[in-house]
Amino acid sequence: MAIIEAKGLTYTYPIGARPAFEDVTIKIEKGEFILLTGPSGCGKTTLCRCFNGLIPHFYGGRLEGGITVAGLKVADNPIYELAQHVGMVFQNPENQLFALSVEKDIAFGLENLGVPREEIREKVDWALKTTGIDDLRDRPPYELSGGQQQRVAIASVLAMQPEIIVFDEPTSFLDPLGAKQIFAVIHNLNRDLGITVILVEHRLDLTAKYANRVVIMEKGRVVLDDEPQKALSSEEARLIGVGIPKATRLYEYLRANGISLSKIPLGSEEAYQAIREVLAA
């Protein structure tokens, strides 16, 4: 059974003149890694707000059609119920942190759920280590840099060990090495723990290689839903202006000039291997 299933979903914000997204039908299976992309303002963040019930329960507005998450109908279940299944990591960590120490921030969600103290400690330790911020444990989050804060935000969601985590441009504020490490962490959560990942991103160079599916939205509609190689080398993706990875663009440049690589690369390693193959032939 799909872990997220939306049918003909349309949503309009309380003071919106037109729907933020329209007639979205999408099915996500447990353990998938979905890369959700599309031009700024296309409705991708709004769609994600339905997954944990922020829409409609917090934002109000009009939600039509049906959406079920982890077997729960979003319209009939409160946010706190849905939040146990769906974690959210937003673009801007400042909006997510509030406690006086990193450790307390990470423990907050677990305390709210009434998790035993010893278990909280274990989960907090694990989340701190997984995100590489063990040394920041006692620091106040507001004193940290943007990148460090985002790691705290990710750790506080990880600690809850939800089945689904939505990451909305989670590395925008991180330095490139930090970003790479966080994407690797997200990849591991998906691969080793089977957590369903929905990653909203523009920077596909760093992320396409981890996804098993790319969903592209434009003007409030899902316009493409396919495996990454097909989606990112498609004419539609190019026309919509999705940030095609450099490795894929290099593949296309070569193809247009009569050189075919054996597969469509999404990252530098794949591109290198494929180029090497052609050179050896």
Partner: protein
Amino acid sequence: MIEVEDVYFTYPNGVEALKGVSLEIQDSEFVAIMGQNGAGKTTLVKHINGLLKPTKGRVSVDDTETTKMSVATLARKVGFVFQNPDHQLFSETVEEEISFGLRNFGFEEKVIKERVDWALNLLDLTEYRGVSPFMLSGGERKRVALASVLAWDPKVVILDEPTIGQDSQQKERLRQFITQLNRQEKTVIIVTHDIEFVAECRPRVVLMAQGKMLAEGEATKILTDPDLVSQASVVLPEIAQIFLKLADLGFPKEVIDVYEAGRLLLERFGEAT
């Protein structure tokens, strides 16, 4: 011209954010400041528009030290677009937001209207003129913040993480737009983690680590040096990673551009067949 001479800066909480940074930026240059989170990048650029004054050392803009200029004079000259647009936006509509700075600087209403129209159009925001900035997406709010600074036409534009939340078409527009600003003899300084954006724009790159300048020079040189970039918590652009691995086959290492990469490979394939 901007001159930063041996600048040290210590925050009131005792954090030493800058430890002896020297840098010269000429008029109409395009400079990208990159490096680890907490390396002092934002602290450095805040010295250029006078938001911060050095604990030790000097910062001058057009031969006048920032300590000897009023905040208003300096702000007119050096526009600063913050990393987080929510620190900057407060008006009820996008139009009012963009007009605010212009009114403060005492522009005439007619000029304000022209400048607002120009900025809205430039950043593709015309359809949101009457909308509250807080109804917009993160990427759109970012463009509103940029429009409101560009509207008063500062000579130096500092953009702190301008590509966050921007899609590829908007990044391409931003790139063209920076080129256009440079042509009008404006200086553009960006603080960014967006390695692929820098690889596309190829500005002069300043790498920072732990409050110091690690290296500076052409993007193609700096961003293809694996040791240097890793010291600054930066990674090589995708194309540079491919060419670093291809180096043992006699390819040059200093390649960061897709088309240059494509041409080099075609040449080789041409030789082979």
